[in-house]
Amino acid sequence: MVLDFNINITEEKKAHTVRVAGDIDIYTSPKLKSFLKNLLGAGPKNVVLNLENVKYIDSTGLGTIVFLSKELYKKERGFSIVSQSLQLKKIFEVAGLTKKNILIFEEESLALASL
């Protein structure tokens, strides 16, 4: 549903894990981007972006993910995504992001282990 957008974060040993729920679109992307910008200034940790509870993402959401990925790369911090959604994987492919070293894992434990 559109209204159920929320973000929470936990700090693991190796990474910050950001869990997003709801639709990521032109309305919610700025909130996510603002949250992630604050996170980028919060120390040297890697980031796992858990999108298990994201049922919809569009080009503005992908733009935010690419922004995060580039900023983390510049700071030599690792980044991975968690999602089982075939639709999400499909639009990553359409956008050409699977060629940009953005890795998607089906389990959070696997995403953490990759960093």
Partner: protein, 150 residues
């Protein structure tokens, strides 16, 4: 009216939203409901949701410099064998031939309109974009039903 005319007549749903980002999700839910009623597959419904959202997002982001009292019109024509979506604004318009390159330079953080167009063209069976500088933009998209309705 001839019998063949009846078969090709669309049932039309018209939606008009203020040109603000919070209403794009409302259109997405409404169009998703229509596509479900038309018996599109789950994968096709997801494609349609993205395409109509991208068209509305384009208008919200680029059509109007002042959004007060500005609207986006969404026309959903439901046929027996396809869904036709027409999203239009009366904003500043853009030059489709140059938009991708220029926006890539201007908006480094965003994937921008170029990706929105890629999604619409990739996920729908047919996408036509007509934009005139100073007059607005109309995006017409069609998704065919794999099994036409009776």
């Amino acid at each position: 009216m001839k019998k063949t005319d009846v078969k090709t007549t669309a049932k039309c749903i018209s939606i008009k939203i203020p040109c603000y980002s919070e209403y794009v999700g409302v259109v997405r839910l409404a169009v998703s409901g229509l596509a479900t009623r038309m018996n599109f597959s789950i994968e096709d419904i997801e494609d349609i949701k993205i395409a109509v959202s991208e068209a509305c997002t384009n208008s919200v982001q680029y059509a109007y410099t002042e959004k007060e009292n500005k609207y986006i019109d969404i026309l959903c024509n439901s046929y027996k064998d396809k869904l036709e979506l027409i999203v239009s604004d009366t904003g500043i318009g853009f030059d489709l031939n140059t938009v991708t390159n220029s926006r890539k330079v201007i908006e480094k953080d965003k994937l921008g309109l170029g990706l929105g167009i890629t999604f619409m063209k990739s996920l729908m069976d047919k996408t036509d974009i007509i934009s005139t500088i100073g007059q607005g933009t109309t995006i017409k998209m069609t998704k065919k039903l794999s099994v036409p309705r009776k």
